[in-house]
């Protein structure tokens, strides 16, 4: 009995406390974020493979070369203050900005950069391949990347890449992070080059440094004073693990957080009306697409693929289901990327009759049945059901099977799917990245080494001309000619491939009313620019 009264009196006290407390506000120099942290496994730049982790580590870790905050398709001076490229593209000389210091107090030198790149390859974790893409390997890195002196870096690539292109490689912290070599090596264990320590710490040059990380709980960053790029207003960033999008929204509306990172489009309408919240949108490098598996003998005819391009009501979906979340994009190259066809390029729309005709021409007047493997998170089940319904109108019966990413990608990797719907995130704003990942397929057999290519997973051989054009564009020095090649390839892609492009994702930032400035770019958010009232 006594226990009951004690409990209930505490309960009432709690309620009273809640009722009389003023509406929660976050401190003026702290930026509080609600985000789903369950995907973050490690903070080591050599191992980060996932978007959420990258998004936060970016706030603590600069890359060698910076992107223009207003136009992510341009490189600008950053940690590398200036650079020269030899006329034949064989040597890049980069000068490191003087006077930069790590949070530990150690000065930033060219040696740190060289070491970080070498470390990336030696550890051979998820991000080593981002260097191998540029033909920089464990075996040749010592000749390709060198420190000419303490403040000068020299890179001698093995191919004469187009300079506008090659520099993009070093804008990614997963390739060339500005890591504090002395600090990291001081925490080395068993020759792991500091991998275990860096999994839970940061030791980079950046506007912030990571001070606390409890997996699936909380991530905290503190400001590093004297950041080279600008004066940083926020003293601290606190990221709270809130797996439910609905809970994130509620916390935002109540003023408990400044930024809800995973706002669900279902909440857009209500948030737009809320006086405590504003929504800011900007395009990203993420796309949604579906594809056929050409290894299945039924799916070989390009007319079949074309038929399906007319089964989707892109505009209808954009106006309703994915409103504010995605925009129609019928090319693999997202808007804002060098080489992209203009935004107005939209050759396909919903046309059931045309689809039916094409399907018959492809040899399926009575349709067929197939399994449709999709991701189980928004918006894929909804888009899939839409496609399923339209497909049924032309006699195609699609059986949806939804699953988590790891399972779906496994199927793709093994080429064991029939139809497939998923998203993809590109890494830097140049069409080269897109075509290497989504079209380049010189070896369509099981023995191929390029199994990362989506074209390979779809069993699509684009043909020698196509592959050669991609390679040619990589070394084409005339930017206009490069662009022309890419535009042509996009049209060819749509005409022949089993891969159908649907949407480009928008990044929607749901911010509290106290946040005055929050800059988003094509490649991510920039917390160093945040200003609050």
């Amino acid at each position: 009995m006594r226990r009951a009264t004690r409990f209930s009196s505490f309960f009432l006290a709690g309620l009273l406390g809640a009722a009389t407390a003023a509406m929660a506000k976050t401190p003026a120099d702290t930026f509080v974020v609600a985000s789903n942290l369950s995907q973050i496994i490690t903070l080591d730049p050599a191992a980060i493979n996932e978007g959420a982790a990258n998004g936060f580590v970016r706030q603590a870790c600069d890359a060698l070369i910076a992107l223009d905050p207003n136009d992510a398709s341009k490189v600008v001076p950053g940690v590398a203050e200036s650079w020269t490229v030899s006329p034949d593209g064989a040597k890049y000389t980069l000068k490191i900005r003087k006077g930069l210091k790590f949070p530990s107090g150690n000065p930033v030198t060219a040696d740190d950069i060289v070491w970080a790149i070498r470390r990336n390859l030696q550890l051979n974790l998820a991000n080593a391949q981002r260097l191998r893409e540029w033909d920089i390997t464990k075996d040749n890195v010592d000749t390709v990347v060198k420190a000419e002196d303490a403040m000068t870096l020299a890179i001698m690539p093995t191919r004469p890449w187009a300079p506008g292109l090659f520099l993009f490689a070093f804008t990614d912290l997963r390739v060339a992070p500005v890591l504090d070599r002395k600090e990291v090596m001081a925490h080395e264990a068993n020759g792991d080059l500091g991998n275990k320590w860096l999994a839970t710490h940061s030791a980079c040059l950046g506007p912030f440094r990571i001070t606390t990380w409890r997996p699936q709980d909380i991530l905290m960053l503190d400001r590093n004073d004297g950041y080279w790029r600008r004066k940083v207003a926020m003293k601290r960033i606190v990221v709270r693990h809130v797996p439910e999008a609905g809970a994130q929204r509620l916390m935002l509306e109540q003023g408990d957080v400044d930024f809800a990172a995973d706002i669900d489009p279902a909440d857009f309408k209500a948030l737009e009306k809320s006086p405590n919240v504003r929504l800011e949108t900007s395009p990203t490098l993420l796309i949604s697409y579906m594809m056929f598996n050409m290894n299945d003998p039924r799916f070989r005819n390009p007319k079949l693929f074309e038929a399906f391009r007319y089964l989707i009501d892109y505009q209808g979906l954009e106006a309703t289901l994915v409103k504010g979340y995605s925009v129609t994009r019928q090319s693999p190259v997202p808007v804002g990327v060098f080489g992209a066809l203009p935004k107005s390029y939209m050759p396909y729309k919903l046309d059931i009759e045309k689809a039916r005709k094409l399907l018959a021409e492809a040899g399926y007047p009575n349709g067929f049945t197939a399994e449709f493997s999709i991701l189980n998170n928004f918006p894929y089940p909804d888009i899939a059901q839409h496609i399923q319904q339209n497909a049924e109108k032309v006699g195609v019966k699609l059986n949806i099977v939804q699953m988590i990413g790891a399972q779906l990608y496994q199927k793709a990797r093994a080429r064991k799917f029939e139809l497939y719907l998923a998203g993809y995130g590109f890494n830097y704003p140049d069409a080269n990245n897109i075509f290497l990942r989504h079209a380049y397929n010189p070896d369509n057999t099981e023995q191929s080494k390029d199994t990362i290519s989506i074209a390979w997973r779809a069993g699509w051989d684009p043909g020698r001309e196509f592959n050669d054009a991609i390679r040619a564009a990589q070394v084409e020095r005339d930017q206009n000619k490069r662009r022309a090649i890419y535009e042509d390839l996009q049209r060819k892609h749509n005409a022949n491939s089993p891969i159908i492009y649907l949407f480009q994702r928008l990044s929607v930032n749901a911010l509290g009313k106290d946040v005055r400035v929050f800059r988003q770019t094509l490649v991510g958010d920039d917390y160093s620019s945040i200003e609050k009232r």
Partner: protein, 296 residues
């Protein structure tokens, strides 16, 4: 009329059974909650069977211009995120629920009964092995175990049913065994054995019928758990796949819209609640009637 058919001492086994059932039925009717449960369960079956006539629209017809509409005269339960009529979907969802429930019963009853009676009757090593195995399964909470199975088998309605059945069997088997143990030592079993009846015959003709009442009760009561587990799996995307109108999956879709478009998640949730409650009440009522040992 009843004087002719109902006598104090039964004249045949059939008459005894009929008499017992009839009086049991009368006692059952005295329990209003149990009757309510029965009515709802029967309603579920009725709705599932007559779904095409009760539903006002095609549960699969999407219409992007009619998304997320609140309940109205046209859409009694509103529409979902792709414009489908919620009322029709909930109605058709009863079919999925009924199918899950029936399949689970069809699997668990014979298998659980078999394991339990064999273990109880044979005793010794067979008993020990079977019971240790069921113990291992019983060590885990139902949802966790079902989750593990479905994660291993892959998503889908059939796999979900299999997973749920596997997690329900052990409890059922234990009960069957307990009943068998009680019955095994009774006189009429001994009499049968003396008469030369084989073990199989004894088990089938004498032991099993004695187990039936408490097993029916147990089965009915666990239906609620089955429905909730299925909903839980559907909620995690591991059960029936879209566009199937399974109630748990509908809760998952509606979860995103709960704050502003409450009808998407509320009605399927209420349906799950109503049906679960009904099975529980029904099972409770049956227990009062069929299992004389449970209370005075």
């Amino acid at each position: 009329m009843s004087a002719i058919y109902f006598t104090e001492v039964a004249h045949s086994p059939t008459q005894a059974t009929v008499q017992r059932l009839y009086f049991g039925w009368l006692r059952f009717l005295k329990n209003p909650l149990a009757v309510a449960g029965l009515v709802v369960v029967m309603l579920l079956v009725l709705v599932a069977v007559l779904a095409p006539w009760i539903a006002t629209q095609d549960p699969f017809a999407q219409d992007l211009t009619q998304r997320l509409l609140p309940p109205s005269g046209k859409h009694w339960f509103g529409t979902d995120q792709v414009g489908r009529d919620m009322f029709s979907r909930v109605i058709y969802g009863s079919r999925v629920t009924l199918m899950i429930v029936s399949l689970v019963v069809a699997i668990v009853a014979p298998i659980g009964l078999a394991i339990g009676t064999i273990a109880g009757y044979a005793g010794g090593k067979v008993d020990t092995v079977l019971m240790r195995t069921t113990d291992i399964f019983l060590a885990f909470p139902g949802l966790v175990l079902a989750l593990a199975f479905v994660a291993a088998l892959g998503p889908g309605l059939v796999n979900a049913v299999i997973a749920i059945s596997l997690t329900s069997c052990p409890g059922f088997a234990r009960l069957a065994r307990a009943e068998t143990l009680i019955v095994r030592s009774s006189d009429f079993i001994a009499a049968s054995r003396i008469q030369g009846a084989s073990a199989v015959r004894i088990v089938l003709r004498h032991v099993v019928p004695m187990c039936v009442p408490s097993l029916v009760v147990r089965m009915t009561l666990s239906m609620a758990g089955v429905i909730l587990t299925a909903a839980g799996l559907g909620f995690l995307g591991l059960g029936a796949q879209p566009p199937s109108p399974e109630w748990g999956a509908m809760l998952a879709s509606g979860r995103r819209f709960l704050i502003d478009y409450w009808w998407m998640a509320t009605f399927p949730g209420l349906a799950i609640l109503a049906v679960s409650l009904a099975f529980n009440l029904l099972g409770d009522g049956l227990r009062d009637v069929l299992d004389p040992r449970s209370e005075s």
